[in-house]
Amino acid sequence: MRTVLLIARHDLRRRLRDRTAIVTAFIAPLVMAAIVGFAFGRSSGGGFLRVAIADEDRTAASAGAIDAVIANAGLGKIVVLAKVADEREARAQFQSGAAGGAVVVHRGFGGLFNGHSPGGVLVEAITSDRRTYAQQVAQSVVRGIYGVVSSNALAVRTAVGNGTVTPAEVDTIGAAMRAQPPPMGIVDDGMAPKQGLLGYFGPSMAIVFLFLGIGAGARSFLGERDTGTLARLKAAPIGMGRVVAGKISAVLLLALMSIVVVWIATTVVFGASWGPAPAVLALSVATVLAFGGIALFLTVMSRTPQQSDATMAIVAFVLALLGGNFFPPGSLPPLLQRLALATPNGWALQGFGNLALDRGGFAEIVPALGILLLIGAVIGGAALTRLRGLVEAA
């Protein structure tokens, strides 16, 4: 163990003397997370995809329709539909930028269920062309509420028409509709959306650079083989298993440090929220192991450090693109969302998204943890087998 620690400490020290490693591991992901997080945050005037909904009708039918829309909207993880007290507050939030858009359900809306048509706009979207994402969401909410009216009003009218229910019972039906527990709760925990966004883009960017950082560390096997230091290590009275364990430990530890530093920095400096610390740490470890396994595999399949660098860069960015590292969560088309889960990036992001945006805990990241650890074990195991040959040939 002492030898493993000695070699790990030695390798870490060497890596930390390399400015490129510092930039890749710590500075680049921080800068990218801040830029991407702020860029998306500002695109909707400071209230990123937050849409305020005011219910001025205040009937069981209107409340039921709003809840049904929220529950069935199939929203992306960073879209926030927040119920507010009244139209005045909805407009105030829109004006101040706290909400990118607003929807007001006006008085008389509930009458639609009884076949009454009071006229005028009963569900209004308050949006701006400059807030495109929020505008689309608000308009979708309006369409959704009218959709609920259409389907339910037809059912109610039919029921009233054939005498199954009386007009007096309509309110009761509305209340029953509202009482149905929506499958998705309303996100309105007072957390500023930007916090969640940075909590998502922080790990997202850390993952991209993590891969490059791990790759550079793993590549040191090839570099040491070429310079002869690996042979000198083999000549020492220590088992080669300890050499390999020490060097891999250093690579993984630096990668973990990279994520943790980005985590602490985005939390302390930018006020990001990554989620509960134990779950974030567990997911970070699993992510590091998965990417460590892949990076080591690509390294041992390369003939030269240069080939390893080139392969690593290509694979890192292809995985990042497919995995969705550069896009807001839920914004990929359905096909690409499914494809993302064929990459470790997709699973890691799903896990971090669950923690940062859904405010979930361990239970929500179990699948991601399992898949990432499996990737690390299978690909890392194959890499270790091949690494043995590389070391023997040194």
Binding site: A231, L233, A235
Partner: protein, 316 residues
């Protein structure tokens, strides 16, 4: 096993194959404490493969190796602790100082604290780098790197020091310093295995020399013993301008000339009696129209021995 006066290194019948190619074929020799043994052979002769097996770096297909009485294999920590290995490459970390490099490698051999500091100081002073220990290895000249490379092999006071062509690519001044340093190790009782393809290094440093070619040890002994194998032969160096190939071909047919090798700027001959073939050489040159700039009968050396034993020059 070794005790007083016994061999520090014993290797017998070493064998290594890479696919169809035999890299080392039955090599065996011994080195006693305080003895410097030279493994002399051209590039690709099997020197590095042999010492890689001796140091437990490479799995061998056959044969036995013991160092200080302990069997050597890839996982043999006891035997490895008795070996100081100086690879042909500069196996040091450029981004660290020489002192930090030595501290790291010293710790791998179990050195710590004051003892480690003393050994680093000693090793750096032996190779003449005592005042440069805090400089980054990357800032060293090629010769200084070679010396620091040797220092890393000395740290743990090995019983056997293995140096794999330690003077490759260094300037004459650094080469002289390295040879002086290595000569001192033998005097201090260390067994030294020195591989080289420089005949003059082997002649200057080594108590005994093993001549290796195409993976086989073709001769072994002191310089005097090896030269005696060539018998009463002479080496004749002919400086020419013109078609040396045609001249060489003609000389091969001449009586009294055993071997002919073409070199840049001339031909080398191994003759039963050097002075008697001088006329033959001049006449052959005239016959093929080659101008002879000079003819020299030189004292037999290991180069001639190698030529005699293998039919080719060391630097081929």
């Amino acid at each position: 096993m070794t005790g007083a006066g016994g061999p520090v290194l014993v290797c017998r019948d070493l064998r290594k194959r890479y696919g169809e190619r035999t890299a080392v074929d039955g090599v065996g020799f011994e080195i006693a404490a305080g003895e410097c043994y030279g493994l002399l052979g051209p590039n690709g002769a099997g020197k590095t493969t042999t010492i890689s097996m001796l140091c437990g770096l490479l799995h061998r297909d056959g044969g036995e190796v013991t160092v200080d009485g302990k069997p050597v294999h890839e996982g043999a920590t006891d035997a490895k602790a008795a070996i100081g290995y100086v690879p042909q490459d500069i196996a040091l970390y450029d981004e660290l100082t020489a002192g930090d490099n030595l501290a790291f490698f010293g710790r791998l051999y179990g050195l710590t604290g004051k003892r480690l500091e003393e050994r680093i100081e000693f090793a750096l002073s032996v190779v003449g780098l005592a005042d440069r220990g805090k400089d980054l290895v990357g800032s060293y000249s090629g010769g200084m790197k070679r010396r620091a490379n040797i220092a890393a092999g000395l740290l743990h006071e090995p019983k056997l020091l293995v140096l794999d062509e330690p003077t490759v690519g260094v300037d004459p001044q650094s080469r002289h310093a390295i040879l002086e340093t290595v000569a001192g190790f033998g005097r201090e009782g260390m067994a030294v295995l020195y591989t080289t393809h420089y005949m003059e290094e082997a002649e200057r440093l080594c108590d005994r020399v093993g001549v290796i070619d195409e993976g086989r040890l073709v001769a072994e002994g002191t310089r005097r013993e090896l030269v005696a194998q060539v018998g009463g032969r002479d080496r004749v160096r002919v400086s020419t301008a013109g078609n040396t190939a045609e001249l060489a071909a003609r000389l091969r047919t001449c009586e009294g000339i055993e071997q002919v090798e073409i070199h840049e700027g001339g031909i080398e001959l191994l003759a039963t009696e050097g002075r008697r073939v001088l006329r033959t050489v001049v006449e052959a040159a005239d016959a093929v129209g080659v101008e002879v700039d000079g003819i020299e009968v030189v004292q037999l050396d290991l180069e001639a021995v190698f030529l005699h034993l293998t039919g080719k020059a060391l630097r081929d």
